[in-house]
Symmetry: D2
Subunit: 260 residues, 4 copies
């Protein structure tokens, strides 16, 4: 079996249990500290991904190769959180895939950007607008960590003032006033192109849906998604007590060609 080896500079997901994982960069000669003791990176280098490693307190960890979902979960910090469930639905509704050309706004910390880049690579492109300089830096760092920076053009700019790209496959919005972007999205999209907007409040949804109706979009739908974790153990199986009750609403539409 051709097992991939861990090497200096790799990002590794150090796994203790489903609630305790760490996304860390492997640095020779250094240690990684956890509440269950420290791990020597030198113990990892040259080992195969998926191997078990012990801390100095003899606690076992697994060194996993990070997945898209790990990069997403570890990207979100300071802004509005796009949970993996919402990102998964946004990607599905948008219809994008390898080779797609996508406009996104705002970039935020780049969690959604990372997912879009992951799915459109290697020939597609994500143009991601963000007005706040400090977020662009965080997003760039997160995209590099996930090895996806080359598929994204981070753009400092106000998407409510216009979108420079044309004939794009999808416009994905996660910002405070999506309805202001709707006319620009129409111009930027190719015919049958999709727009997907993520908003936490009902009021944003209503304004966005109205703008979509007025601007030539069809097949307008709004959904919300509730995800619940299960505790699975024979004789004790039950849904988990705590749950995220709301992240946001996802609104979808497609561009119809205007008839004269």
């Amino acid at each position: 079996m051709t097992s991939q080896k861990i090497k200096e500079g790799d990002y590794v997901l150090i796994y203790l249990n489903p609630r305790k994982t760490y996304l860390v960069k492997v640095e020779a000669g250094k240690n990684f500290h956890t509440h269950k003791g420290f791990i020597k990176f030198d113990d990892l280098i040259g080992k195969g991904y998926g191997c078990t490693v012990k801390s100095n307190l003899d606690v076992k960890f697994v060194a996993l190769k990070p997945l898209l979902r790990d990069y997403i979960m570890k990207s979100v910090r300071r802004t509005q959180i796009n949970y993996p469930k919402d990102i998964a639905l946004i990607v599905m509704f948008s219809g994008i895939g390898p080779g797609s050309c996508v406009v996104e706004a705002g970039t935020g910390t780049g969690a959604l950007t990372t997912a879009l880049a992951h799915y459109v690579q290697p020939k597609g492109k994500v143009y991601s607008y963000e007005i706040r300089e400090e977020f662009l830096k965080v997003a760039e760092k997160n995209l590099k960590r996930a090895g996806l920076a080359e598929f994204v053009e981070l753009k400092k700019g106000d998407v409510t003032a216009g979108i420079e790209e044309k004939d794009v496959d999808a416009v994905i919005l996660d910002l405070a006033t999506p309805w202001l972007v709707v006319p620009h999205a129409y111009d930027a999209l190719k015919p049958c192109g999709t727009i997907v907007s993520f908003s936490p409040t009902i009021d944003q949804v209503v304004k966005t849906v109205e703008a979509l109706k007025e601007n030539g979009f069809v097949d307008i739908r709004t959904v919300e998604c509730l995800m619940r974790q299960m505790q699975v153990e024979r004789g004790k199986t039950r849904p988990q007590t705590l749950m995220t009750g709301h992240t946001g609403y996802i609104t979808f539409a497609r561009k119809a060609t205007k008839t004269n």
Copy 2:
């Protein structure tokens, strides 16, 4: 704007409203009948996607280019339905993307297969096992319609007896006894590879989670996802009255390397 033209042999999504859409093949000289009159395919050929067309009863339809989600929704007929929300989450959890190598079982009508092929193309591959000959035919037809058949190898065979592929990125299961496939999935997966199983009953989940624990998988999680549609109209906004209360549970895990 470079608008793509509709041509003979294309699959087009004829859109009346979000609840009434038709996925049809364009055939010159023929008509497509709806409860709101018929549409002449000749009125579509040569027009740009996204155009509006009228039936003989003067009702307007939009001719849309089908998205992944449309192919999924129109694929499901006779078997267990994997709703787009579940497919979206399965894809996200699996970590797959362009270039991934995936084993799936069972194929069913190919709804999930279509999504997997869409995301791993053009260099990835889906190996999809199905024991029932008649489903393989339906799945093949659905994959061809979506233009994704070349990225899938449909295999008639019983996956509970073994998986032929090695070093795959993910094993995706939607069958009655996923726990019987878990040891084979472990052997087929590369280290850190993922397994994702979709099951309608709690009992299937419990058995699958037990098999995962016994077979060297870590980061085991089970979730269920509830999606609710909103009726959005200023002054009358509310969730829709009817909702799908349950499709199935999604169980995820990653392969850790066994230590001796």
Copy 3:
């Protein structure tokens, strides 16, 4: 065991399975027809409640004594449906119990009225306002069937124009414009009295909450309740596929005394 006997004129719940029950009045000499054959009422008269009876097609039915929930479920016909789950929460939030004095509007078919009467009897009273004459007749019939008519005063009148009662324990609203009733509810309630409003749309909720804040109410809360049925069978246990996704939002508040 002192088993209660079924007698002429009683309302009996004829039970085939949880989805197929009939609330019928026992009439000597007559038959009750179902899709599984007919039952002779004479076979029931004199038997104990809870007994099994066979139709002429030899299908077994159970003759049950109706519960509050049965009267509620069989009352709802033509108007907005208050599901038992919502009625249960409305009653709980309102804080009412035996002896409480309650104002309700609108009466509708009397489903909620029936529940309120059930819980405030025998010394409490429900004053129920309804503007549509035809509903008052239906409600009266439903209340009589449940044996609770004497605890309710049905009033033909427009509650948005004012409430005649004073010092009531609770005002319960299920009508299109609850915010118009809020000032009248304040006047009608005794200090610390409660108001509970049931509304299907978000827009109604927002207007009602604003009116509550402006009119001296405190402890304002809005909730929605999703109830899901389970299919329970060893080896096949799962939530039911279909579910009611939305009935309405429940808004609750308490009257604080205005300070000068």
Copy 4:
């Protein structure tokens, strides 16, 4: 308006906001301390319920008359929590009302007992079994505080060994092994009497439903209830981020008479 006055020894709900309330006993000459300063009970005595009172830091509180829901919420401490939503549904499904005779087990801290007593008073009775002496003391205190102790007989005993009462209207179970009580419940119930069981795990539900089927119960249903709070503010309305994802399943059935 006849406003009820606050007096020495009363329990008052000191309200700051929907998330910060205190259920306290009024004691002349003493103060009640909060994180927003202290309130002199002497400032409350003789005032009407619903009045506003200021702490020494000039923060306003409202002195509310406690409702059933307040007693329930403040009763739950050490054991399994029965949220008001579950208690509301249990009461509704049970069909009980003023005058009903109910057996409950286990008592726990008396939250559900308090609700049952509230609804069956003044002529009904609750017989509540509990095996753990220390809980009976807590429950007695909570029932006295709510003024409902006289309608409850707290019984130290193991309900899985048998129920002493006969011809009761309902048996309500919230304990680890409800299926062991099912045969005793059948004997204790009058014909058409109801049993309602609350259990956190699926496994408990399956065993209980099996016992119900084997012991002559009909109309067996299991539901779960999800309650979500809304943040209501014009322009910012949305469901709350955090939510209780699971408390327990509610199983309901009715006693049919066994036929020979």
